[in-house]
């Protein structure tokens, strides 16, 4: 029985980090699409649908939060679970993110890949509450 692989979109501008994330997610059994910036991520979301979006916060041109805001405008992804990777965990008002944008988790860098996988699995299970 072929398990329906959850489709994850990874948006990360750092090539090395993107690589290790994708490696781990694939090993965990997800179908991974990787893009290098927010614009490309939105393009991908318009064209296809994903079960979860994982994004870095600090990216040039469009931050992870801006990506999430834009994502919520797309009808297909209004309730797609969203996980934010960020180096500035302390400054982010996570409560607001959760309430207004339906961000499931804000994961600080550096992070443990196994922890990341666990977060993804939890987010997929719980779904998006927005």
């Amino acid at each position: 029985m072929a398990k329906d692989k959850a489709k994850i979109l990874v948006c990360e501008d750092n090539v090395a980090l993107s690589g290790v994330i994708c490696f781990n997610l694939v090993r965990a059994g997800f179908e991974v699409t990787s893009v290098g910036n927010g614009r490309l991520a939105l393009d991908a979301c318009e064209k296809g649908s994903f079960d979860l979006v994982l994004s870095d916060q600090q990216m040039p041109m469009m931050t992870g939060i801006q990506l999430c805001e834009n994502l919520r405008q797309l009808p297909a992804h209004k309730h797609t679970p969203f996980i934010l990777l960020t180096a500035k965990c302390m400054e982010i008002d996570f409560i607001r993110l959760q309430e207004k944008l339906g961000v499931s988790k804000a994961l600080p860098k550096p992070f443990s890949p196994s922890e990341l996988v666990a977060c993804i699995e939890e987010a997929l299970a719980v779904g998006c509450k927005v």
């Binding site: 980090l17 781990n24 090993r27 040039p60």
Partner: protein, 615 residues
């Protein structure tokens, strides 16, 4: 209400009373004198008369005894003369005149009218009014010469009535009364003069008593040297000098305030901040010059001389909306903030430049003489500050990112290697390499950070050593080549044949060159060109890095060496960077006694040239 009673002025009354009572006293005195004189003379004459009568009786008796039938008329005449009587007569017991000084009466019957008024022994005094209407006093003494009664001797004195006295006195009266009268008048004049100051004072006080406003009364000094005059004059002087000193004080206060105002004005106009005050309606009542400029007003509102007509004076908030895009939602406009301090920041675009001001409004607490002002405003141009803050924030963001990203990679790869089931050897090697390079990247960034700190503290030091320049340059080039190749840039290197071995801090200069080359590569799009040229002269080493990259705008050319400065060009913002590289490089080169210069044209490319002195 007092007016009706103040008909006759007091001093006149005093003088009048003085004269009146004086004259009355004088009169009474005159009357008394007259009466006393009269009585005294009366009693004197009485006693004289008595004596005379007694003597006359004796004399007559003697004369009779000597010669009974002699003519006694001469004797009576003598007696009369001596006793100063009016008449002298002898009346027989039978009642007719025996002898009378007035010979006509001889033989006639004597009248018996008259009342006995007194009696001394045998002498009797009678008083009556005779046929002529004269008041007479008669003294009678019985004559008994040789024991035989002959009759009575009568000595008559006309009574001088008081009127008689007065008549006699009247001759002397003018003279007698002249003296006292003169004294009285003199006294009255003196009294009047003494009383005059009091009169003047009283007159003025009458004005005070009856006028509606005490201040408006024109009170003057009175002449005189008495206590009342001097006291009054002093009061008047003080009143006028108090008034004068009060108006003087007022003038002084005004001048001082004006002086203070103008000094304050000078001070306020010399501040960089704008200061203004508004009244309760929010209309400007004062602005210093910088504020007028900031608000775009035609001139500063610095009146104090005459109120500005409030129609022409703008509302502060209107002005701010016009010139500084005050948003409707700004707390300055909220009614509940009227009595609170409000600080807000306003932004506007001017000639392509962003300008930010901080506006603070404080309520003024009306103390003494608070006047119209109800709020004081200060405006400060915080553009520079904001820019600096923003740059710093941006730096912190970048720093955090630059520190955490390599760490994230290191951790992720390491954990993956440790926990993953099967990874082929090639991939393992790849992961380990990544860990390595990320660690190196992190180390470099940490070095940069530390260098910046040193720079800030002024403790950046050089480790100068004799350096193999060629070797160092080759190392630098080797480091940069991978990046160049990755972007497929054309890379030209021009090194001279002979290279000196100068004294320099090899590592730091290498860092500088790596920075310059790294920038060239970073900011040059794919398929561009980078040229690295080294030129040795007698005195200097010149190293230039030229690229065909995005270039630097003319107005940013002198800013690129500033700490944390990152160009606003989006193509630059796209790349990660801390804004520290050039600042550090410049400092290092400066410490070597050299300099870094830049030439650039936007969209064409830049050339950075490092010059180091030799020797």
């Amino acid at each position: 209400m007092f007016a009706s009673k103040l008909q006759i002025r007091l001093p006149r009354r005093i003088t009048a009373y003085f004269l009146l009572f004086g004259m009355a006293a004088l009169l009474w005195l005159s009357v008394a004198v007259v009466y006393i004189a009269h009585s005294v003379s009366e009693s004197r004459s009485e006693s004289a008369s008595l004596r005379s009568v007694g003597q006359a009786g004796d004399r007559f008796n003697l004369a009779y005894l000597r010669n009974k039938s002699a003519d006694f008329q001469p004797l009576l005449l003598e007696i009369r003369a001596q006793s100063r009587a009016d008449y002298c007569a002898v009346v027989a017991d039978s009642g007719e005149y025996l002898v009378h000084t007035t010979s006509a009466y001889k033989g006639k019957p004597a009248g018996e009218q008259g009342n006995v008024t007194d009696r001394w022994g045998e002498v009797v005094e009678l008083q009556f009014v005779d046929d002529d209407g004269k008041a007479v006093r008669e003294y009678r003494i019985p004559l008994k010469p040789g024991g035989k009664s002959l009759g009575t001797l009568r000595l008559g004195f006309a009574q001088t009535s008081i009127w008689g006295y007065l008549a006699t006195g009247a001759q002397f009266a003018p003279f007698a009364l002249f003296g006292p009268a003169c004294c009285m008048v003199a006294g009255a004049v003196l009294v009047n003069r003494m009383v005059r100051p009091v009169a003047d004072i009283e007159h003025q006080l009458y004005q005070v008593a009856t006028s509606p406003s005490v201040e408006s009364c024109d009170l003057r000094e009175v002449p005189g040297v008495g206590a009342a005059a001097m006291g009054w004059n002093r009061v008047i002087q003080q009143r006028s000098s108090a008034g004068e000193s009060e108006s003087l004080q007022r003038r002084i206060r005004k001048t001082v305030e004006q002086g203070r105002h103008s000094r304050l004005d000078t001070v306020l106009n010399s501040m960089p901040d704008g200061v203004a005050t508004t009244d309760a309606d929010g209309r400007l009542t004062y602005t210093n010059l910088p504020m007028a400029v900031l608000l775009g007003l035609p001139g500063a509102i610095q009146g104090g001389d005459g109120a500005n007509d409030s129609e022409g004076v703008p509302l502060m908030t209107e002005q701010l909306t016009k010139k500084w895009n005050l948003p409707e939602t700004d707390p300055l406009l909220a009614v509940e903030n009227r009595d609170r301090t409000v600080v807000t920041e306003l932004t506007k675009e001017e000639n392509g430049q962003r300008r930010i001001t901080r506006v603070a409004r404080h309520p003024i607490y009306i103390g003494e003489g608070g006047g119209q002002e109800s709020h004081v405003w200060t405006i400060r141009d915080v553009t520079q500050q904001k820019l600096a803050e923003e740059m710093r924030d941006q730096f912190v963001d970048t720093a955090t990112h630059e520190l955490r990203t390599p760490l994230a990679n290191i951790k992720a790869y390491a954990e993956t290697l440790a926990l993953a089931d099967v990874i082929d050897v090639e991939q393992q090697k790849q992961f380990l390499n990544t860990i390595n390079s990320e660690a190196t990247r992190l180390a470099r960034f940490v070095d940069d950070l530390l260098s910046v700190s040193s720079m800030e503290l002024g403790s950046l030091s050089l480790n100068k050593q004799v350096t193999d320049l060629r070797r160092m340059l080759n190392e630098v080039l080797a480091k940069i080549r991978p990046q160049v190749e990755e972007k497929r840039l054309a890379f030209e290197v021009a090194l001279p044949e002979k290279m000196p071995e100068p004294e320099m801090d090899k590592d730091k200069i290498a860092t500088v060159l790596v920075n310059l080359l790294g920038n060239a590569v970073k900011y040059t799009p794919d398929n561009g060109r980078v040229v690295f040229r080294v030129n040795i002269t007698d005195k200097h080493i010149e190293v230039s890095v030229q690229d065909t990259g995005v270039g630097i705008a003319a107005d940013e050319l002198d800013k690129v060496f500033e700490k944390f400065y990152r160009s606003n060009d989006p193509r630059v913002q796209e790349q990660t960077g801390t804004g520290l590289g050039l600042a550090l490089s410049q400092e290092v080169v400066r410490l070597h006694g050299g300099k870094i210069t830049v030439e650039s044209e936007i969209n064409k490319g830049s050339t950075f040239t490092m010059t180091l002195p030799l020797g």
